[in-house]
Structure formats: C-alpha cells, structure tokens
C-alpha cells in the first residue's frame, strides 16, 4: 500500500496529511453518540468500583484486627477497632476515587 521511501516521500507526506484530515472528520462524526453510550456503563462501573473498595477495606481491617486478637487473646477488641479503621480507609479510598472521576470528567469534556 505504501510507496517506498526516496523520491516518493513527497507523495507519502501528502497522502498522510489527507488521511489525517479524513480521520479527524470521521472521528468528529462518531464522537457524539459513542461517548454518550460509554458514559452509561462507565457510571455503572464506577459505582461498582466504589462498593468493592469500601467492602474490601473493611475486610482487610477486620483481618488485621482478628490477627492481633489471635496474637494477644483479646478477641473482640482489635477486631472492632480495626474494622472501624478499615471503614475509615474505605471512605478515604472512595473519596480519592471520586476525586479522580471528577478530574477525569473535567478533562474529558471540552
């Protein structure tokens, strides 16, 4: 498809520019409806991501607490405390994720 390098370089450059213009035009035409469709599933995906982050943080905190309880023989104490820490960590992660989404949307929309 492509012309070999050398004297045909000039034609290559020209056809590349043409191709670039055509790609830009096609992209502009496609962008509208496509973007709308993907944002719908993106939102779903984001909600799911935040739920997982919160639950996982609580579970990890709980596991650390349970391990400490197992080591010191103080069963409910550290489990409860670290479960709370895990919840706080989950909220912190969710807030950071949400902030990331806001930044992403700001840069995405023109």
């Amino acid at each position: 498809m492509a012309a070999p390098d050398g004297k045909a370089g000039e034609t290559d450059r020209k056809s590349l520019d043409e191709l670039g213009a055509r790609i830009d035009a096609a992209r502009q035409q496609l962008d509208g409806p496509k973007r709308e469709q993907t944002t719908k599933y993106k939102t779903l995906n984001r909600a799911w991501q935040m739920v997982v982050e919160l639950v996982v943080s609580v579970v990890v905190g709980g596991c650390i607490g349970y391990a400490l309880d197992w080591a010191f023989g103080t069963l409910p104490l550290f489990l409860v405390i670290f479960g709370g820490f895990g919840f706080a960590a989950g909220i912190k992660t969710i807030l950071a994720t949400a902030r990331g989404f806001i930044d992403e949307d700001d840069t995405a929309s023109p």
Binding site: M1, A2, D5, D12, S15, L16, L19, T38, Y41, K42, N45, W48, Q49, V52, E53, V56, S57, V59, V60, G61, I64, F82, F85, G86, A88, A89, G90, K92, T93, G100
Partner: protein, 250 residues
C-alpha cells in the same frame, strides 16, 4: 402449558462453565501442576497476541494496513495512558504494563467466544496479576525512595494527634489495593458470563421465552464485549495509578 414447562425443565447451572478440567496430572504432592483448560486458554491467548502483533508489524509500512493500525492504536493508547497517569518516568515500565493490558484484553475477548474458557474469570489468575503489580510497585517504590517510601503512609499535614490513626488507615487502604484490584476484574468477568448462562437457560425452559432470551443474550453479549475491554482498561489504569503513587509519593 408453557408455564408448566418452566417449572419442570428450568435447569440452570451457570457456574459449570468455570469448572477447571485437567487434561493430564502432574502431582507434586503439594500441588497438581497438570495442564488444565485454564492453562490451555491462557496459552491460546498468548499465541493469539503473538500472531496478531507479529503479523501486524511484519509489513511495517508508513501508511499502516488495517492490522498494523489496530496494533499501533493499542500501543499508543497504552503508552499515552502510562504517560498521562504516571508521568514520563513511568515509561520505562511501559513494556510490563502493555503486557498486562494485552494479556487481560486477549483473555477477556477469547472468553467471549462460545464454548471457550475465560481465564480472567478465576480469582487465582486475577489475584496473581494484581499481586504481581502490587509487589513490583512496592519494590519500585522502595528502590526509588529507600526508607523514605514509608512517608507515603505518614500524613505529615494532619494534626499530630491524628497521625498514628491516619497512618494505620493508610496502611489498610494500601493493603486493600491488590484485593479490590483483582476482585474487580474477576468478579466482572465471572458475573457477566454467569448472567449470559442464566438467560440462555431460560430459552431452553420454554418455547415462549426463546425469542426474548435470545434477544437478551445478543444485547448482553454486546455489553460483555464492552465490559471485557473496559475491565482490561480499568485494570491497566489502576496499575498506572499505583505506579504513580510509588514513583511520586502523592
């Protein structure tokens, strides 16, 4: 009549598709490392990637062929993702991130072919991928910053009394990363395929349900292809985010 058929014949076994089958056993006592269908499809995915990329770039012309421009777009897409999220410094880890991305993408998409097996629907695979990212990112952080890497967990701006508590919270959220990282990919793939199977079982249950469930499967399959690509993207961008944290410490 149709209703009765639903009661009698509805035979849903959505998890059967995730069964691991051994083609042959190599039992080492602590573990069986025989060849499974999961391993087979992982090999197929790798072979597909190699064949695709090889044939795409073998022509290497200035104005790319279709295949070549697909390969180039994927390359450029991941490269831009790495640079935008983690900065120029992260570009030396680009080969690893590209490998992770294209492997997950290939596994997800090959899983969409009927009668195939979705490697990434198993947590054994996704946890391995997430743990390798977690460990390598942590090692990179320590190599770059030494013991100063621990300042990542120490919120210096917070009031002094709160710092130890916040430090524990930071550590927990850091440890939670590989888990949520792997669950997101594995659960998404597993859930999508299980739902497809359930809807498919409706078609077998009653003649009345055939048309709606086939339409449903068509729609869901389209959605699943989107999810397959999106989850590969999400896994990769989170890898970049974690890498950025390790390189730049907030």
């Amino acid at each position: 009549m149709a209703k009765e058929a639903v009661e009698g014949e509805l035979n849903i076994d959505p998890m059967h598709q995730f069964d691991i089958k051994y083609f042959f056993d190599i039992d080492l006592g602590i573990a069986n490392i025989g060849f499974t269908n999961s391993a087979l499809f992982a090999f197929i995915a790798v072979a597909a990637i190699v064949v695709f990329l090889w044939s795409a770039v073998s022509g290497h012309s200035l104005v790319p062929s279709r295949m070549q421009s697909v390969a180039e777009s994927i390359y450029e897409f991941v490269r831009n993702m790495v640079r935008d999220t983690a900065g120029d410094e992260a570009l030396k880890y680009f080969p690893y991130i590209f490998t992770v991305f294209i492997f997950i993408l290939a596994c997800n998409l090959i899983g969409m072919i009927p009668y195939s097996f979705t490697v990434t629907s198993h947590f054994a695979v996704t946890v391995f991928l997430a743990l390798s990212v977690f460990i390598s990112v942590t090692v990179i952080g320590f190599l770059k910053h030494g013991m100063h890497f621990f300042s990542f967990f120490w919120p210096a701006q917070a009031p002094a009394a709160l710092r130890p508590v916040l430090c524990i919270i930071e550590v927990i959220s850091y440890l939670a990363r590989p888990i949520s990282h792997s669950i997101r990919l594995g659960a998404n793939m597993m859930a999508g395929h299980a739902v497809l199977k359930v809807i498919g079982a409706f078609a077998g249950a009653s003649a009345l349900l055939v048309v709606p469930s086939v339409l449903g499967i068509v729609g869901l399959t389209a959605l699943e292809v989107l999810v397959a690509v999106l989850q590969a993207y999400v896994f990769t961008i989170l890898t970049c985010v974690y890498l950025n944290d390790a390189l730049n410490l907030h």
